[in-house]
Every structure is written in structure tokens, then in C-alpha cells.
Amino acid sequence: MRDVIVYIEHVGGQPRRVSFEMSTKAKELATALGGKLHAVVLGTGASAAADAMKAYPFDLIHVSEDAEIDAFAVDPSVDYLEAAAKAVGPALVMVPYTMIGRDLGSRLAARLDCGQNADVTDIVIKDGKVGCVSPKLGGTIVTTCAFKGDYGVVAIRPNSFKAVPSAGAGEIAQLAKPAGKTYRVKIEEVVLEAAGELAVEEASTVVSGGRGVGGPEPFKTILKDLADSLGGSVGASRAAVDAGWIGHGHQVGQTGKSISPNLYFAVGISGAIQHKVGMRTSATIIAINKDGTVPIGEFADLLIVGDLFEIVPELTKQIRASAAVHA
């Protein structure tokens, strides 16, 4: 393992935040391994995304805007990434731990016949080995796993690293189309339900609602307003998702997403173990609940006991007022 390759996930030419976060860490690793740093950017808008990545220390940015990449699910991207990795030689390939990233990473690792470590929150070089740190079993244990072979694929949990811009050579290289491939999973239509919203795992602030929120409305009003005032996203507990108040993509917990935001609000959430495992690695946890004896009080940094329907809008008001003063 010598070079480091970062797969840049982007939405129509705009790289996702995790792309920048990974790039900064990847440079540190490439330097430690004595190799080069590469980016691979694929699909419609790849050139624009590649330009945005020039603010980060890449030696080479490999690009393809082949129309097939967005016409078929996953497989064309795997082919391009595989070809890029084989051309580069023994490398650590970093993908984001997102729905697309883990799909791509798992297939790529099988192609490269190498190990994969997923939901990784830190990477350490220990005795020359690339050690991938990851919470397992709902964060009750933390493992560090290394790779045995020449290649390794690692899927990085968003919000794990700080993005620090620092330009490199940033040479753009066009990837050749992999020969003799036919694809079978055709994308007929893409429906955006939350266009422009930051995914819950990517947001640095998350405002989650639970059973105590009582219905679907507050997710669109008071919780969303608080999240917006802090530049964050709305999350939910399983109870709220199962009741149909908000989509599954917002669910935090054992059967939802595991996230590590800087600030997490648990509003009307009791904090059962199934929820805790998805948010316990948040830097700061604030709970608002009418009941002072809920389990979340045992691990939240602050539990406000009171009426969430009154406190949340008041808090939003105060945050907006404070922002206006500082603006």
C-alpha cells in the first residue's frame, strides 16, 4: 500500500462535504506511506467537482463524465474505480460511508480481492500498518483493523475529519472507458425528495425528534426551524419513523444511521439503547424532554426538563437573535 485514492461523491458537480473531509486525512496518510494522492470523480458534473477538489492537495484528479455512469446503478462506477486503482498500483482506496460509497466500496474490494473496513472514524498508521478505527456493536466496542494485502478499501463515516483546504498539483487526467462492459440495472427515474438538504449523517448539527413530538407536523416546523437556524438537519428516532411521521432516511439508531455530529439535539426522545447506539459518538448531546427520568438523561450533556413545543421555538428565536447580533 503506497498511494491513496479518494472517491469523490458529488451531487451534480458539487462534492459532498465528506469528500473534503476525506481529502485532508488522505493527504496525511499519503505522506506517511510515501505515495501520491489521487482523486477519482465520476459522472455528470465530474469536471466541475474536480475543479472544486483542486483546493485540496491532490497530485492527480482522475475524471470521467461518461453518460453510462449515471444511466446505470453502481456497476459503471465500480468498473472505472477498479481500472483507476489497478493503474495506480497498491493503494488505499477511501470511499465515503454513504449509501453510494458503501455499495461502491464493497464491490471494489471484491474486485481487488482485498479487505474492506467500513464506518471508519479514524485512521492511524501503526508499525507501518494502516489501522482503521471503527465503533462496532452499536459503539459498545471500538476496533482497529489493518489490511493484509496490497490494496485496502476504507469507508469513512462523515464528520470524522476536519476539512482543511490546501492546494496540490491537481493535474486532471481523463479516465479511459473500461472495454467490453454491459450493464443491467437501468436507472429509469431519479426522484429527489429532500433536494438541497444535508443528509443526517453529514450535518454537523442534528435535531432529532421522537415519540414525544406527537406527529408529523413538528418535523416540518419547529424541529426544522431549529435545525435551519444552526445550519443542521432533522433526524428522528425509530418510534417517529415507524409512526410514519418522517422518512426512514432520517432515522438515527440501530436500524437507522449511526452518526457523529458536533451537536445533537434529542427532542422528545427517551434514549433507549437502540437510539443511543446511533448517536452516542456525537460530541455534544442536548436533550429536551418533559420527563426528567428518561434514560437519555444518563448520557446527555444537558437534559432540559420542560415542554418541547414551547422551548424549541423559543430556542430558535434566541439563536436567530444572537446570530443577527453577531452578523
Binding site: 479487505g115 464506518d119 456493536l137 437501468k186 443528509a199 439503547i273 437502540q274 437534559l303 423559543e314
Partner: protein, 262 residues
Amino acid sequence: MKILVTVKLVPDTTADKRIDPATKQLVRSGVETVLNPFDEYAIEAGLQLKEKIGGDTTVTIVTMAPESGKEIVRKALAMGADDAIMISDPKAEGSDVWGTAYALAQAIKKNGFDLVLCGTQSTDSITGELPGALAEFLGVPGITHARKLEVEGTTVRAERETDNGYAKVTADLPLLVSVTKSMNTPRYPALKGIMGAKKKTIAIASLADSGVDKPVGHEGARTELIDLVSPPTRGKGEVFQAADAVAGATKIIEFLRERKLV
């Protein structure tokens, strides 16, 4: 049509888990083993397809686990699956995603398949990497994170969840599909199902019986564990009784300022 559903046996996440500091191993005693909750959605999807398609459609459960997990696999049969294949072999112990996917793929290929259904992830390792790797080793495309699935003849139509919505996709069999919890509500085994499951076949197979021609387990693993620790526990924080909305909000603002979060 041959539908195969992969399942994993996992420690119950609601149970308290701890690491033995001396051996750096998970203390498993007293921790109940259960069917990975995510896999129940895949089983349910398989059963619903079988009910709809009818004919000679079968639902077969496939897993790699010690033989001691046989009765847990039987729960899937009680839900309505026809039979199960269990790869049980001491040499499988310590398999990583690569080894698990490789071994399952060989067993599935040996059995024959039209559609392979998986849960999206397991509650223990939560990597969500198995479906993709398995599809590669089976040599078929995959539709991951499907929330809607229809099969007509050999044509599959699905809605695949994305981070900001969903995509409508079509493909032909053979295929692998991973199923999200939005797709269905898994049934509880009825008494009749539980009684019937006792007579259903759970075929125990070694790695060699399953056609696994490469070392898996510890020996074949592409990754190695170099450290295992318990994370620092989160202590109990401050509890503040808010007399009214202003008091509650003001307290939060002060707290956020102290931590430089606003």
C-alpha cells in the same frame, strides 16, 4: 423461481456487552444470539414474492454460523421459508466480509438461484458491505437499499433509496437485492408455522461441501484486528428543570456559548 435469503446470527444489541481486558475478546456469555433484525425484512420480502408468484417458487435461507445457531435459523422457517442451508465449519471462524461473502456465494451458486435477498446491514458490525461483495462473487448486478420490489417473469422493478430521495430501477434476473425496513413489516411466526418449521430441513454443510475452494476464516481474512477497546463511557450530564420556555432556551444558549457552539 429460486429465492435465497441470506441471514446472520448476531448478539442481541439490547444486551450489555463488554470486552475482557486480558484477552481483548468480546465476552459472549450471557449475551443472547438473535436473527439479525435487518434480515427479517429480506425474509418477509421473499415470502411475499413467493405468495404472489406462486408455482414452484421456493424461499431458502442461507447462513454461515456455528451449528449451535440452528434453532435461531428455525425462526426464519417458522416465518414461512421452505428450508435452510447452514455453512457450519470451525474453519469459517474469524471470517471477515470478504470470507463471509465468498463462502456464501459458493453455497448459493451450488444451490442455484434466481434472486438473492439480503438485509441492508447487520446490527453487530454494521458495515453494510456484505450485499455488494456477495453480488460480485455471484457475478450478478445488485440493487441495494430497495424499498419497493416487483418481479414479473424475469423483470425486476424496484425503488432504490438514495440519500436524498429514491431512484426507480429495472433489471433482469438473476439478481441480488438488499431490502430496507421501509419495504414491509416482517410477520411474526404463527403457531402453525412454528410447528411446521420443526419438520423443515436445515442442511448443515462444511466449507468443502459448499464448494468453498479458498481459505476463509482467520486464515483467509483480508483484514486483521490489531486493537479492541471499550470506548470512554459518557457520564451523566446536567439536568435542568425549565420553569418556562425562556428559562429552558436561555439555559441551552448559555451551554452552547460555553462550548463555543454558537
